[in-house]
């Protein structure tokens, strides 16, 4: 991967640049955050000409490494006002890596009303005016682009929400079965929409196997790595069978399942939308319980979920989405949840921000609790068409809560809090408060050690040890997000010593380096510090590293606990 493609949408020009030496050892999140921090003024408007949208495969993307198909997208976030890196599966990362492209940087903004598409190939990028796909949902765009250009092209596209520059919008990536994976969080669809790009197609022609510094060592390390993925019960068995939705019952039993807009920690009807129920339905209806988001995935946490007649309803049906609709919004029919999930994908909206926003809208009385049919109607008629109501809701959870004068607004840095209540699971509260990304469970998944007994045990109800736990996880996560590996490799990495060693061996064999585990930790720390410095300069100071006040005021059943972490202790997070 030896070249950077730079696309200027102001003058519609393209440059192919060599990779600066300082960026040679970076990939994925490390590279997108480094480029955004170096080139975007922190005070820039996220939807203005000075923001940049950066795509980068990871350091191991495009190789034969298992689970290396993740793809990073970075920019200043229109939702949080801070730096954002979002990760997605799909086919694009591998194709782009094998074309030798280390990153695609999209900058500037066209003056007129013309929309464009980008066609990326081994030779560069062609900027073409686009009309036919405007207004289309993501599934139709993928079909149309593959028909127009070729079945094997990767597609990165906006749905209608991104065209309308909504803060809930995401960027969708075609997966191996022409369905959708998403750069979900942070409203990045709005950044792509502000540059008037409906879709990016990537021509795989001319892509080649990547040169490895030591092919034999790489192969051996990948075998060890893959064995650890298969040997760990979570990555080897649990995720394959039940998907991530297995957590519905786990988090409910632990008393941390935010229910009815974060007013209880348990939901009476939890088993109706659990991973176990999902599995039973999939098997009974001829779906697929195990399915990968990208080529080379061993873990197979995705699935294909059909309706009662055996017709496709959705895939990539995730715990956080199911939680938000099922427990937080009380829509307990799993088939309705699946239909809504598919509409989220089609409109190109974040399937965490959007349903958490809807639960706040339910509390505001805008629609009844549990009314999935009304939600579908609003999605199709208001959000898709950007009516005034659609624009109000499209602004996200914080926007809607403020509009209706609510105080129970579950956001940090204006990004919706996902599926784990921080009052009885305090480690994840530290992550929500301190991560550079706004509330994001994946940034430092303390659930592993607080609840799942992976990577040791730290009592979820005590404050002691949580800052250190979250810090270590956030550092490790920033490093993993830079490799292009799926974050779920963390389950074996936390429990099986050979796992992380084999990742370091693969990096060394790929690039001819002699990194140690300490170097990988140093990379993670560096990424966090680069992102933190950007946020401070953007106005997201220490006063924004905190949870909303209602967590301190409202005890959560069944543990009857509030959030009571000392703010000074939280601030020690950055002591590294």
């Amino acid at each position: 991967m030896h070249k950077i493609y730079r696309v200027n949408m102001t003058d519609l020009s393209v440059k192919i640049e060599p990779v600066p030496e300082a960026w040679a050892g970076l990939g994925g999140r490390a590279l997108t955050s480094t480029i955004v921090a170096a080139e975007v003024p922190p005070t820039a408007h996220a939807l203005g000409p000075n923001n940049k949208l950066v795509f980068a495969p990871g350091l191991l993307s495009g190789t034969a490494a298992s689970n290396a198909g993740r793809f990073s997208c970075g920019a200043k976030s229109p939702l949080t006002g801070g730096i954002k890196e979002s990760s997605a599966g799909g086919t694009a990362s591998r194709i782009i890596a094998r074309l030798g492209i280390k990153a695609i940087v999209i900058e500037g903004q066209p003056a007129g009303d013309t929309w464009y598409s980008l066609v990326v190939s081994k030779d560069g990028v062609e900027i073409r005016p686009e009309t036919e796909t405007l207004g289309m949902g993501t599934f139709a765009v993928v079909e149309k682009v593959n028909e127009r250009l070729g079945e094997d092209f990767a597609v990165i596209t906006l749905g209608p929400a991104g065209e309308h520059l909504m803060a809930i919008s995401n960027i969708s990536v075609k997966d191996p079965e022409s369905k959708i994976r998403s750069f979900g969080r942070g409203g990045l669809g709005g950044v792509m929409g502000s540059k008037k790009i409906k879709f990016i197609a990537v021509d795989p022609t001319g892509g080649a196997a990547l040169k490895l510094a030591d092919p034999a060592k790489f192969k051996a390390a990948n075998l060890t790595f893959t064995k650890t993925l298969n040997d760990h019960p979570v990555s080897g068995q649990g995720l394959k069978k039940y998907g991530t939705a297995v957590l519905v019952n786990v988090i409910n039993e632990a008393g941390g399942l935010p229910t009815k807009n974060f007013t209880s920690g348990q939901c009476e009807n939890h088993d109706a939308f659990s991973g176990e129920t999902m599995y039973d339905n999939i098997v009974a209806r001829g779906g697929e319980p195990s399915h990968g988001c990208s080529i080379g995935c061993q873990i197979q946490c995705s699935q294909v979920y059909n309706d009662k007649d055996g017709k496709y309803l959705t895939s990539g049906f995730e715990y956080e989405t199911i939680w938000a609709l099922g427990a937080d919004g009380l829509i307990t029919d799993l088939d309705v949840i699946a239909e809504i999930d598919n509409v989220f994908d089609d409109l190109g909206v974040d399937s965490i921000e959007t349903p958490v926003m809807f639960a706040v809208a339910m509390e505001a009385g805008l629609l009844p609790w549990g009314d999935g049919k009304r939600m579908l109607q609003i999605l199709r008629e208001d959000i898709a068409k950007a009516t005034p109501l659609g624009r109000l809701l499209g602004g996200g959870t914080g926007h809607v809560g403020r509009a209706f004068g609510l105080t129970r607004i579950p956001v940090v840095k204006n990004q919706a809090i996902p599926a784990y209540d921080p009052r009885p699971i305090k480690g994840i509260g530290v992550t929500y408060a301190t991560t550079t990304q706004g509330a994001d469970h994946t940034a430092g998944y303390a659930i592993a050690t607080n609840i799942l007994n992976v990577g040791g045990k730290v009592d979820p109800l005590k404050n002691e040890g949580q800052v250190e736990l979250s810090r270590n996880l956030q550092i490790a996560t920033a490093a993993v997000d830079s490799t292009g590996l799926c974050l779920f490799i963390a389950f074996p990495a936390l429990d099986i010593p050979e796992c992380l060693g084999s990742v370091v061996d693969m990096l060394n064999a790929r690039y001819g380096l002699s990194l140690t585990g300490d170097d990988v930790v140093a990379l993670g720390k560096h990424v966090l510090k680069v992102e933190h410095a950007f946020n401070l300069a953007a106005g997201l100071g220490p006063e924004t590293d905190r949870l909303p006040e209602f967590f301190e005021l409202e005890p959560l059943a069944p543990h009857d606990v509030t959030w009571d972490m000392d703010q000074k202790e939280l601030a020690t997070f950055w002591n590294f």
Binding site: G238, K241, T244, V250, A254, E276, P424, N453, F491
Partner: protein
């Protein structure tokens, strides 16, 4: 005394989702696992009253024990 047992994920296979069972006074979690033919190393998490418990936990009448294999997500 009577207790309630909730099983999850693969532990439901060939067993049950939820059942009320008679156990001896002073029975521990380990006793219950033995009666269900679940080996301790297979267990990922167990909860009583939404708190993690280990195999030595003595159960009280009317309590509910929830048992999960090692699973995860995120």
């Amino acid at each position: 005394m009577l207790i309630t047992i909730k099983l999850f994920a693969s532990f439901r296979d060939g067993r049950f989702k939820v059942a009320t069972r008679e156990v001896a006074d002073g029975a521990t979690v380990a006793d219950v696992l033995r009666s269900l033919e679940i080996d301790e190393p297979e267990v990922g998490m167990m909860f009583v009253r939404a708190r993690h418990v280990d195999v030595d936990r003595v159960l009280a009448a009317g309590e509910t024990l929830s048992v999960f294999p090692l699973v995860g997500g995120g």
